[in-house]
Amino acid sequence: MKTRTLLRLVAGAAFALLSFGLPALSVSARADTLDEIKKAGKIRVAIDVAIPPFGMTDDKMQPTGSDVDLARLLAKDMGVELEIVTTTGPTRIPMLQTNKADIVISTLSITPDRAKVIDFSIPYADHPSVVAGLKTVQIKELSDLDGKKVAVVRGTTQDTDLTQKAKGAQLVRYEDDATMALAVASGQVDILATARSLLPAISKKNPARTVEPKITMQTNYLAIGMRKDEPKLLAWVNDWVKTNLKNGKLAAIYKQYHGVDIPTEDLLSKAGG
C-alpha cells in the first residue's frame, strides 16, 4: 500500500461525494409540479410492478394491476400521457424526493412517519395487514411469534410494526414481495407478515404451502403520495379520488383485481365528506 494508492482512494471519495451532492443542491428553485406535468404532457407515476395484484406484469410483459389501472385512469382524466416509473417498496419515497416521479401510486399506506417527508392524498383503498402462516403453524397473537422466523419486506409498515410490537420474533427481511413469496414457497420461512391482498398470490406459487391469515395487525389506508408543498397538485388529486370513489370507478378496479369491495363510505368519511 503506497501513499499514491491512498491518495487515489481519497480522491475517489471526494469525487463520489461531489457527484452525489451536486445534483441534490442544484434542484432547488423548481416550478409547480402540476403545471410541469401538463406542460410536459405526461405524468410520471412510480409503481411497484412486483406486488400482485396491485402492480404486476401480464403474460405479454405489460404492467397491469389495480394501481396501474388507477394510474391509467388518473392520467386519462388529467389529459396527459402515463409514464410508469417502476420502483420497489423501499425506493418509493426516494423516487419522489429525487424527482424521478411526480406521484407515487404503489400500495403506499398513510403513516405519520411518511407524512413528515411527503404529502398524501385522501385514501383510495383500505389495506389490512396480517400475520399469515401455513395451516400447521399455531399462532393466535403476536406473542406467539417469539423465537419464530417471520418474513417481511424491508421498510414496509409490517416491518416497522413487528419490529416494535413483536420483539421476540426473528424478522427475516427481504427486498420485495416476490422474494418474500419465494422464501415462503421454497420453505425458508413458514410465517410472514404482509398485506392480506397478497396471500392468494403467494399460496398460488406453491399450493402445498398455502398460507392463511392468522392475526390481523392493523388496517392501513392507501393513498397517492406526492412531494410536499404542491398545493395545486394535491387539490387536484384529492378531488379526483373523491369523484371516482363516489362514481364507483375505483371500487370497480379494486373488485376486478382483489375480488373484494373497498369500504367506499368509510373512505369518504375519512376524506371529510
Binding site: 491512498l6 441534490a24 443542491l25 432547488s28 424526493q97 413528515k116 425458508q188
Partner: protein, 227 residues
C-alpha cells in the same frame, strides 16, 4: 424542492451501520479464505489433473463465471431449501460467494501456475522432491506471488459484490442501508455514508492483502521488487 442534508439520524443509527459492516466483513473474509483454498486446489487440478478432472473443473469455472452472482445466491438459498435443505441466509451467502470466488481464483491461479517455467519442476525432480512437494514448494508460492495483485483485486470485488446478498435477507451493510433509509427516508445521506464505508473497507482490505503478501512472500519482503 430544496434538499437539506441532515445526518442527525446517525446519532441513533451508527451501531446499525457498524453491525452491518461487521457482518459484511465476516461474510467476505470467510468467503475469500474458503474461495481461495477451493480455487487453488481447482487450479492445480486444472493444470496437472487428468483429462476428466480438467474438464470437470473447466465446467465449474465456466458455469460460475458466466452466470450472475445473484442467480447463484438464489439457487443456494431458494433452490436448496425447495429440495429440503434449509440453510440460513448467512450460510447460503458464504457458500455462494465461496463458490464464486473459487471459480475466479481458479483462473487467476492457473495463469500463475502456467507462468512458472517447466525447468523449475525438472530441477525439483532432480533434487528428489516428490510431485506433491514440488507443486507445493516450487510452483504454488511463486505462482501466487506473480498473480497476487489480481487475487487481491478479486477479493475486494467480492467484498463489494457481497452487497447483493441483502436480497436473501442477510443484514449486511447494504441491507442496513436499505433499512435505515426506509426508517428515516434520508436516502441520499444513507447511501453516501454507505458508499464511504465501502470505500474505507476496500482500503482496509487492500491494506490487509498487502500485509499478508509481506508475510507470505519472503523474497518480496527482502527485495521489495515485484516478481
Amino acid at each position: 424542492m430544496s434538499y437539506k442534508f441532515d445526518f442527525a439520524f446517525l446519532a441513533d443509527k451508527w451501531p446499525d451501520f457498524v453491525a452491518g459492516a461487521w457482518l459484511t466483513i465476516q461474510l467476505t473474509i470467510l468467503s475469500i479464505a474458503f474461495g481461495f483454498l477451493l480455487g487453488t486446489v481447482c487450479a492445480v487440478a486444472r493444470v496437472y489433473g487428468g483429462p476428466l478432472l480438467r474438464r470437470l473443473v473447466g465446467a465449474y469455472v465456466e458455469t460460475i463465471r458466466n452466470t450472475p452472482l445473484l442467480i447463484q445466491i438464489f439457487i443456494v438459498y431458494f433452490g436448496f431449501s425447495s429440495l429440503g435443505l434449509k440453510l440460513s441466509a448467512e450460510v447460503s451467502a458464504v457458500i455462494a460467494l465461496t463458490v464464486n470466488m473459487g471459480a475466479y481464483t481458479t483462473e487467476i491461479m492457473r495463469a500463475g501456475i502456467q507462468s512458472i517455467l517447466r525447468t523449475q519442476l525438472e530441477a525439483a525432480d532432480c533434487l528428489g522432491l516428490t510431485r506433491f512437494q514440488a507443486i507445493l514448494h516450487v510452483v504454488l508460492l511463486p505462482a501466487m506471488e506473480r498473480v497476487y495483485p489480481s487475487l487481491a483485486s478479486q477479493g475486494v470485488l467480492l467484498m463489494l459484490a457481497s452487497s447483493i446478498t441483502s436480497q436473501i435477507s442477510t443484514e449486511e451493510l447494504t441491507a442496513t442501508a436499505n433499512l435505515v433509509q426506509s426508517d428515516t427516508y434520508r436516502s441520499f445521506e444513507v447511501y453516501m455514508i454507505v458508499a464511504v464505508v465501502y470505500l474505507v473497507l476496500s482500503a482496509l482490505y487492500r491494506l490487509g492483502f498487502w500485509a499478508i503478501g509481506l508475510v507470505l512472500f519472503e523474497r518480496r519482503r527482502r527485495l521489495g521488487t515485484p516478481l
